[in-house]
Structure formats: C-alpha cells, structure tokens
C-alpha cells in the first residue's frame, strides 16, 4: 500500500517536472550521449565499430523523422571512422559536420590537415 503510494507520488512528481520544464527537442539525439558515457565508463561496450553502427542508425532515424542531426555527431562519427582506418568515410563525415555547422570549420580543417594532409 505504502509502496503503491510512493510509486504514484513519484510518478506524479516526474510528470509535473517533465510538463514544467521539458520542451520538445530541436535535434534528434539518439545514442550519442550514452555512447560518450559508455566509451569512458564501460569502454568495452562502446568500441568504434559499435559507435559507428549506432551513430549511423541515429542519423538515418533523424533524417526519416525530419529532425536535424545535432552538433558534433558527424564529427564524432568521423573520428570513429578514422580510428578504424576508414579514410573516405572519415573525411566524408568530417566534411558533413563542417557543412552543417560552419562554426566547426577551423577545428575540422585542422584535423583533416593533420590526419590526411590538406585535401
């Protein structure tokens, strides 16, 4: 009985909290933050292959739902590809980040330059 009440109240609290603060998100976030968490806290569960797989799925879902892909996702994907030695895919993803978000240009250009020589 007490437990039921606790659950109910907890649920009410959460509902109040959510309705009070959470607006709809602009971007589709998918697994990005969880992958960052796991790559530091449980590295075994987030190797580059897994990350590439999940991030590419997220990008597809975002596109199919008509939501923009958030800042950093393509750059993170590019970095994972570069760790795997997938040169073409890495460059492609980095350039995608730069196209979507011109603010990333000097960082992305610098990375491409250091990793692959300019162009």
């Amino acid at each position: 009985m007490i437990h039921t009440n606790k659950l109910l109240l907890a649920a009410m609290m959460s509902a109040l909290f959510l309705s009070g603060c959470a607006a709809k998100t602009t971007y589709y976030w998918g697994n990005y933050e969880q992958l960052i968490h796991d790559s530091y806290i449980e590295p075994g569960s987030a190797d580059p292959v897994t990350q590439i797989d999940l991030l590419e799925t997220d990008i597809q879902i975002a596109q199919s739902e008509g939501l923009p892909t958030p800042p950093g996702i393509y750059a993170h994907l590019g970095y994972m590809h570069s760790l795997q030695g997938n040169v073409a895919q890495a460059k492609n993803a980095f350039l995608q980040e730069k196209n979507l978000y011109p603010e990333s240009a000097s960082f992305i250009d610098g990375m491409l330059d250091r990793a692959y020589g300019n162009k």
Binding site: K6, A22, A23, K24, T25, T26, W29, E103
Partner: protein
C-alpha cells in the same frame, strides 16, 4: 504513516521549488549579449569531488542541453582525444590551455569550464542521497571575459530524511524501490543541467541555432 506524511511534505516542497524557480536575482547578461558567442567548446571538467568518474560522466550530459539552447557545441569526446593527443593527458592540464591556443586550434567563440564540486551517492543513517554539483563558467576566447556563470546542482533524496532539501528535488523514492545499484548520477546531471540552463533569471541566453519558442506562453 509518518512515511506518507514525509512524502507529502517532500512533494509540497518540490512543488514550491518549481514555483519559486523565478524568485532569483536576475543575472547581468551584458557581457554575453555583447559577445554573442555562436560556438562553445566544453573542456573536460576539473574534479574537486572524490568520485573519479565524475568528470567524464558529467561531460557525457552536457552536449544536448547546451546545443538545445542554440549553440554549436564541439564534439566533447573528439575534443578530449584531440587534447590528449596533444600532450594534455588529464582534465587538470586541459584546463590550463591558453585561450589563444583554444581559439587558434579549435576556433571556439567561448569555452565552458566546469568544476565538479560534489558527486555521487551519500549514505546517511536514515537515508541515502545522490548529489551532483558543478560550477560552470563561460569565457570569451577573444577577450577572456566572463560571459556567464552558474552552479548546476541536483539532489535525489532517499526516503526517511524529512527536511533539508537544498536545490532541486526530483522523484525521490524511485531509487529506493528499484534498488540502488543503478548509477543515478547521469540522469541527475541531466536534471541539473536542464535546470541551470533554463533558469528564468539566471539561465543561459539562447544561441544562434535556437528556434523561436512558440510554446513559451503555454509553459509560463
């Protein structure tokens, strides 16, 4: 039945906190308004807590709220690796890079510096609370001026502790029922970030990618 009474008072206190969110001295936004940064790089946090994982757990919860606020947020993990590859193995060292170097190599308009003050599960005689507390400072990479600062904090209260609610109270009992094996700090950290960025009078102003908020009237 005292338990239920306690829960009621917690619930009321929680509601009160939500309602009182606006009774805070307004922040002076003149520096931020003048600088109008478009992009923010988050440097991996300095750790002043005893929880070794705190900086990177926190780092994993900062991109979404900051980007949803309308800023370009550099990829936190790629930046961390970039800094490590450039001879800065720990957050403590990363926090000492000059703003000129950050501007030159990363191209960020502003840097978000984070210090973790307190983090994790606290076991008391009658209860166990989880806490997340971090100091945030947003600095202009051109001028070095402070654009915005705040303290993000959230507490998840276990059962049995009546008063002393500081900061934000969220669904208090869930952890107790579910069993406390799950690390609640990532969610708590998200709650803290959401609250600190969207605070009405001290929150972070919207960046260039923010959508005009048509639901504002509804949520007020």
């Amino acid at each position: 039945m005292t338990i239920i009474k306690n829960i009621r008072s917690l619930l009321l206190a929680g509601l009160f906190m939500l309602a009182m969110g606006c009774a805070v001295t307004p922040y002076n936004y003149s520096a931020l308004n003048e600088a109008k940064p478009r992009s923010i790089v988050v440097i991996p946090p300095v750790n002043s807590s005893v929880e070794v994982d705190a900086p990177y757990i926190y780092l994993s919860t900062i991109s979404k709220p900051l980007a949803e606020k309308g800023y370009y947020v550099f990829p936190v993990s790629v930046i961390d690796n970039f800094l490590k590859e450039n001879g800065l193995p720990t957050p403590a060292e990363m926090n000492s890079i000059s703003l000129d170097k950050i501007r030159e190599n990363i191209g960020a308009d502003a840097v978000l510096y984070v210090e973790i003050i307190d983090w994790g599960q606290k076991y008391n005689v009658l209860s166990s609370n989880a806490v997340v507390r971090a100091k945030l400072r947003l600095i202009d990479t051109r001028t070095g001026s402070l654009l915005w600062d705040a303290e993000a904090h959230a507490i998840q209260e276990g059962s049995g502790s009546g008063g002393g609610i500081v900061g934000l109270l969220i669904g208090a009992i869930i952890n107790q029922i579910a069993g406390s094996i799950v690390d609640v700090t990532p969610d708590l950290s998200r709650t803290a970030n959401e609250a600190v960025f969207s605070s009405q009078k001290r929150g972070l102003l919207k960046g260039p990618y923010a959508q005009p908020s048509k639901v504002l009237a509804e949520t007020e």
